[in-house]
């Protein structure tokens, strides 16, 4: 099976498909999403193998991600088939003359999807943006990530086959990659967003990339919404009584180190900044966490460019004079592996928490900040918008609960999700999930790119006033 491979071809086909596909029943859309899931499932082994080669992520992680991705496609299909995505507002007899007013929901039209590199399946070509747009009744034109050309194309073939097999209009699923644009992926992305037939954009990636697409979308004759998820440092606030004994310190040092280094620290919800109390217990936790991080073997990163950026950041941070105890970074006297991410952590005090330490950093690294827990609310207030914020506390401690009560309003004001006694890296694909957050974490903090609510980004409600029900829908 195939798909259109030029920008104009893919978008024109998507525009032509928008009407017919947009009028499909929710049950048919569910069947299409299930068919996509089935097709990915059938190609699982081949795709995981390709992904392993191109991403350097482990087969185990990639296999789990395929499961998440097929589950997501099926869930979104089931969600719309059950009508759970509908705004469903009704005001009987409310219009002048006593007519009923109620809402129906219509798809926005062709959606441009920008696949991320760090989740080649769950946020990649067949990921959440593709699934939610198709569930909403919108054709998609997906731009594959240039770091995964073979995997992206193969997934596109699999999806194109499933979409055609479900008798969807030609153009319901489109795919483009750098080859279509003479090798310049950034230009291809901007041109895609500028195309007048595109009506919305889903993006997961860097701040610079997201902002460029937002600017292009806002400057169009017809501005369109860009749902961009651009990441954050995902602060963690450790309260004293949670780490008052060795068991607590051991538990949280291990959990935090695993969250910092898992998948090479290349998750948008990686806890990049951990605030610990400036006490002996806090220092012990920080040291143990750094040790656990440093004790992790180097991890191949998604690209050599990312690995190089990580090494540069680590070296700069270490040189800045921060007491970087525990960093392994590049072992002395060895030539770094070009693709390896060397686990790394630094400890600083709250007064030095400025500049680079506040920026998102992709890779197996974290900044541990020793602070007075009484200052946690002010530190939280000083942060930019975040995807997540986490509190680690002793549930049974009145002191920790009082401190949390004082801190939580600041976290709720700054983040899209607040985690209690956990790590932020597991993002459940469920109805209540909010994977969003204030600027600059995302472009539209009132939306989510994970969970069934993501579907609603690509529809709009229409009020019907007195229209005979048998004439619509």
């Amino acid at each position: 099976m195939t798909y259109h491979t030029t920008l104009d071809g893919a978008v024109a086909a998507a525009a032509a498909a928008a009407g017919p596909y947009g009028s499909w029943s929710a049950a048919r859309r569910r069947d299409l999403l299930h068919a996509c899931a089935d097709a990915l499932e059938a190609a699982r082994a081949e795709l995981v193998d390709l992904a392993r080669t191109e991403t350097a992520l482990t087969a185990e992680r990639l296999d789990g991600e395929v499961t998440r991705t097929t589950g997501q496609l099926r869930l979104y299909g089931d969600h719309v088939a059950a009508g759970r995505h509908l705004s469903g507002r009704t005001s009987p007899g409310a219009a002048p003359g006593g007519a009923d007013v109620w809402t129906v929901d219509v798809p926005l039209g062709p959606v441009a999807v920008f696949a991320a590199s760090n989740f080649p399946f769950a946020f990649g070509v067949p990921g959440g943006d593709t699934a939610s747009a198709l569930a909403a009744g919108c054709p998609v034109v997906v731009k594959g990530h240039p770091a995964q050309p073979r995997l992206s194309r193969r997934i596109a073939e699999v999806l194109a086959g499933a979409v055609a097999g479900a008798d969807a209009p030609d153009g319901t699923f489109g795919f483009l990659d750098a080859e279509s644009a003479g090798g310049d992926p950034a230009r291809l992305g901007i041109e895609l967003v500028r195309h007048p037939a595109i009506k919305a954009v889903g993006f997961t990636g860097s701040f610079g990339g997201g902002r460029a697409l937002m600017d292009a979308a806002a400057a169009r004759p017809e501005p369109i919404p860009v749902y961009a998820e651009m990441g954050s440092v995902n602060p963690v606030f450790v309260l004293p009584d949670a780490i008052a004994d060795e068991a607590g310190r051991e538990k949280w040092a291990t959990a935090l180190a695993a969250a910092v280094t898992g998948s090479g620290g290349q998750l948008c919800t990686k806890p990049g900044v951990v605030f610990v109390p400036e006490t002996d217990d806090g220092e012990a936790l920080a040291d143990l966490t750094m040790f656990r991080i440093a004790d992790t073997a180097p991890i191949p990163m998604l690209t050599e460019g990312m690995a190089a950026a990580h090494r540069t950041w680590s070296a700069k941070t270490a040189e800045a004079g921060a007491p970087a105890r525990g960093e392994s970074a590049v072992p002395d006297g060895t030539e770094p592996d070009a693709r390896a991410g060397y686990p790394f952590a630094v400890q600083i005090t709250a007064k030095d928490f400025e500049g680079d330490y506040r920026e998102e950093h992709f890779g197996p690294a974290a900044v541990l900040v020793r602070a007075d827990p009484a200052d946690y609310p002010a530190l939280a207030d000083s942060l930019e918008g975040q995807l997540t914020a986490t509190v680690i506390a002793d549930d049974a401690s009145a002191a920790d609960r009082a401190a949390a009560r004082a801190l939580l309003p600041s976290l709720v004001a700054k983040a899209g999700r607040v985690v209690w006694n956990g790590v932020p890296t597991g993002v459940a694909v469920v109805e209540a999930m909010q994977h969003g957050g204030p600027w600059p974490a995302t472009s539209a903090g009132w939306s989510t790119s994970v969970g069934t609510e993501a579907i609603r980004r690509f529809t709009r409600p229409v009020a019907l006033q007195g229209v005979p029900a048998d004439l619509v829908g």
Copy 2:
């Protein structure tokens, strides 16, 4: 009672109020909104009188609008107190480790509100944007419309008094007008939108004004959402059997003429374009509608500038060679009253439906387009995005129902609200109302500026994961 009168003063106070006011319970916000309604009610006679002087609208219309506005304030207060604005998503046990995930909703922060001139109350200083932002927990900074300086200031005093009387933080309600900016309202507006403490914008007005604010908001270091309602021509499609007898023609000619000329045709939902069948019946309806429009006495418009623009448009349209039967415009040989809107209508055929005829026109005027009803779907498809679209049909006619069934998908795709056998000018302030629609009718077609759903524009959901319930909210 008073309010801050400089931009920096008003916005700084709003920023300082955002935290404390944002943490108010919904019940307290309800009480504040009711207090605002009570205060407007107490000043009703004085305000209607002032409004009559500055807007030239009738006392009866203005009195009704005060009732709508106070009802709106009370409704939005009751809505949040009942928790009906909450996203309320719950996923029990869904997070890793079995923690519950559920959403709470937080206000975005200070909202800039741009008052419209055509509804000095319902879309003015105390209007829907102000009411929905305050209901959401956001302080507001309202820019008064320059055409109504005295009324705007007096309403601001009344609201500032009510807000202070409810013990709301200083800065919860702010007001600015052209005087604050050395007489340049456009510059004041742009500066307000650019102010870093402003987090969202509500606007009702012209396309040019809305687009300028959108561009300013999108170019900020932190882009913010602009909810701009910029109007449309609100097409009406008349099907043959609805006007097959004289009673039907009489009924709809009268209703349409009243909707075209009511409030001087200065409503964003005025039916500006009416498609009639190119049959003897259709022509009879068009003639009768034009006669009814022309038979209406000239209506003082909101400003002399609007009246002049209306005269220019009418003259240009008449000169364009359209068979402008029925226009009264300015009677021959008379000097026009500078503020009068002379009712006017033109008839054209579908092939001439281009250019100016497709543009929104403020004033008591309409374009009647004779067309083959079989072409209605294609004509609808050719339109820009609309706030409303209307079908006039004989409910009992199988032919009309079949034609409507073919037409409705195009209308649903183009409009925010579809009206059946009515006129679009009555916008009910209810839960199911959708006063929005695709670009260029609004900047964000998935939102509404009328009805309780308007509140949600100014909040965002936050997912809580395992957080002890007693520590939040």
